[in-house]
Subunit: 531 residues, 2 copies
Amino acid sequence: MTHSFTRRKFLHQVGAAGGSAAVYQMALALGMMPSKAFGAPQLVAPLNGRKRSVVLLGGGLSSLMSAYELERAGYECTILEASHRIGGRNFTVRSGDFIDEMGNPQYCQFDDQPNLYFNAGAARIPAHHHYLVHYCRTLGVQLETFTNVNYNAWIQNDAVAGGKPIRYRQFVSDARGFIAELSAKGISADAFDSNLSAEDVERVLQFLRNYGDLDPNLLYKGSNRGGYVQPGIKAPTAGMLEHGTLHERLDFSELLKSDFWQYRMHFGESEDQAAAMMQPVGGMDNIVKGFVRNIKSPMVTHAQVKDIRIGEAGVTVVYQHDGQNKELKADYCLNSIPKHLLVGIDNNFPAEYIQALSAIGRGKMFKIGIQMRERFWERDNIYGGISWTNQNIEQLWYPSHGIHSEKGIMLGAYTWEHENAEFFARLDPQQRFEAALSQGEKIHPDYRKYAENFVSITWQRMNHHMGCTAQWTPETRELYFDYLQQPLAGRHYMMGDQISYHPGWQEGAFSSAHNALSELQKRVSAELASA
Amino acid sequence: MTHSFTRRKFLHQVGAAGGSAAVYQMALALGMMPSKAFGAPQLVAPLNGRKRSVVLLGGGLSSLMSAYELERAGYECTILEASHRIGGRNFTVRSGDFIDEMGNPQYCQFDDQPNLYFNAGAARIPAHHHYLVHYCRTLGVQLETFTNVNYNAWIQNDAVAGGKPIRYRQFVSDARGFIAELSAKGISADAFDSNLSAEDVERVLQFLRNYGDLDPNLLYKGSNRGGYVQPGIKAPTAGMLEHGTLHERLDFSELLKSDFWQYRMHFGESEDQAAAMMQPVGGMDNIVKGFVRNIKSPMVTHAQVKDIRIGEAGVTVVYQHDGQNKELKADYCLNSIPKHLLVGIDNNFPAEYIQALSAIGRGKMFKIGIQMRERFWERDNIYGGISWTNQNIEQLWYPSHGIHSEKGIMLGAYTWEHENAEFFARLDPQQRFEAALSQGEKIHPDYRKYAENFVSITWQRMNHHMGCTAQWTPETRELYFDYLQQPLAGRHYMMGDQISYHPGWQEGAFSSAHNALSELQKRVSAELASA
């Protein structure tokens, strides 16, 4: 008790000096963190002295999780990774880091400060992504709240309001108002086949009044939800000492000209994007570092796989390393090489396997991180979240961390549309920077003057990736998904977020590893039972 | 340049050891934070050697801001505070702290750890609260993201679904779906007087499809926005390796039985509650500490004001301190004593001033902070945010900070309804704890087993407060608000969040100080000009 009290006192002092992150790291070191795992089934049974070897192709999260779990059960593991780094599309870019993009190699010029990083791949964590949260917990990766939707951010569309940016809250408030008004008219006119009682109808009308902030006549006349005419340095007490002035409400047909409502307005309602979202303190790759710290098996980078042979007794992989071809034999192979690269590697897979791998589309994605000398967006009352535009850059992200510090890294473009990813892929880095700046200026007029340097990444041109999120269609799902989840000859197991219902999410990678490990366990159990 | 590089390197090392909070504090100490104020007008002109004295009654934020600004302009200030502490309703409760509630004095039993605190008063910061954010920046109070709305939290209502809690996302998704369906029927029937073109009607229908996630026939059949049937330890890959199973959609008339939609569902849309919200790292009272560190003027606690006399030449205040009546004369008085207590203090105010002060209602508010031995809500995928219930406790809050650490303080009740504040006021602390636990169990069945200790606070019974958020009506606003914003005889200036359009918000207090300082400056300028 005294001992514990002393440790807590100590932590308290650490906290006073270094804040909660320092306390967290220290508490981990002192063993004061909860040891009970909140959430993962044991997938791999201990070998109890028997020997089994596994080669893991690709150094992304599915391989890291697999190696971590297999190693603990006594398996001998080797990870082969073609690129210079472990982590795959979990990639946090900091000062000096190398971007190995085909034709556009870049070194990151950011200042060397802990807050100045850019998650070039995975960048947010939904709380229900079970394995992801579990490993953050288990590996001691500290998480913090991530702002995904910000009502103070901007939406901008060239076709709407003369291209002038509109606050997210204003658009959403007006959209809800118009919808509620429409609904109220619909129900008042009793124009539809309603199963609602008279009491329910009254409740619906009351609901709509609240939902859309309608006036007593069920009309939408604007709402303070949309915010008051911009308070700021010159009017810091707007709305505080007197009634504020509401924004003029948007015209509904003007609002409908924006593509924003087509999905972006609803993005924060979706299963994987709804609050609360999280991020690791200090960069997404702390997850990778957490695994790397806890895996003893060899991880060979610059190891490019040339040939994969599945045999009766195991799998033989030939890879190029240090200018030489090397051969590695293992009992099993867990393979997360991107399917569009895998089909170009010599192998003895069945033809239908190759056909299945070839049928999945290859995603394209562009991001640019820009170092800003001043966190000018905070003057605009923006702390984290996303502004949306119909230009090629699509999104601007503001960092959720480092509030009120000196500089910040903004995400100056994040493309969901392939044509926008291709637009940027055709440009050289300096041209990308220029395009990002001139498009960003439509949202933040003085954007350019804060930009100090940048780093850009086109995932479909990154060496050893050559693609981003796997593109499945209902047809390819139907035809190939279950098939690719099955092992080949009990020896070869496909993995990676590509083999999940959530490609592009880290949890997809972990889930695919869950599947591969479960299948592998079945196989090993059968082997051992019959031995 | 070399110098700067060295300092950054140093900071980087600090960051590696202690996280971003440590870096922030260190950067402040090194003078590397931006010095340029982002946002406050200069309210008080320097006296340039002339003498002026101000007595500030009440030690809340309006007095702290005023003393901070006046001192810098050369005014001689004294703060008199009746209670044992500075800060007013900015009150962070930690291990050992005293709750001075009439009839129910309590000492906080929380473990002594930095993450285990409870913001018993102000607890969140909207980004557009300009002075609040300005002073956090200026005083070096580090902010972090605060989760206000969490789609994974619960809503619970005894009259709905047999009292079973429902995920926020499920309720909201279904509510949006039903509304969109109603609207679509309304517009399809052309039952209202529409100014929309045929093209617009098509856009509206498309909008509604996206808004409510309707099916191609414009019917709402459920949505993955509502989440899949609970993934968890037993099914960590639900929805990841196969299509997930959607929740069955709620019946609209069932949904309408909940009072949730009456305002709570929309609370995260409102001007002051919409994302992104923030909180100071380590507790709200870091703002108070920031002021206290930077104010040199005397702050006298346990100083209870007995008499206020406004004269031609200044203001005379009699206060009790150390068992004696003491007299303090000052040129001006800035007064933030709660209006319902002020009217009971001897004074020579005009009768109509007393009448105005008396007309404003006295708010009531109850909160209870409970120390939980395990952060069980994180197993439920809840990280921050609020669950809502129609029971007396009204709200459960989960901490946004300390993710994955050992213990946490939950807010076990936060009442907005006066009748609920009164329900808890009638109970002694142990009874309150029991009531909070048994009500919380309807949301988290095993809630009780994690609860270690608690601290409760009833603001309407707190000594020297005896009330919470001032209650204005449209009528009292019309009659008295402008009047109370005006100085009395150029000598006495009312302040506090009570004299703002945002009572209950820290920004209301700062805005009222803005008003008082502006009025005072006018007065002093006139005096000096005529001197």
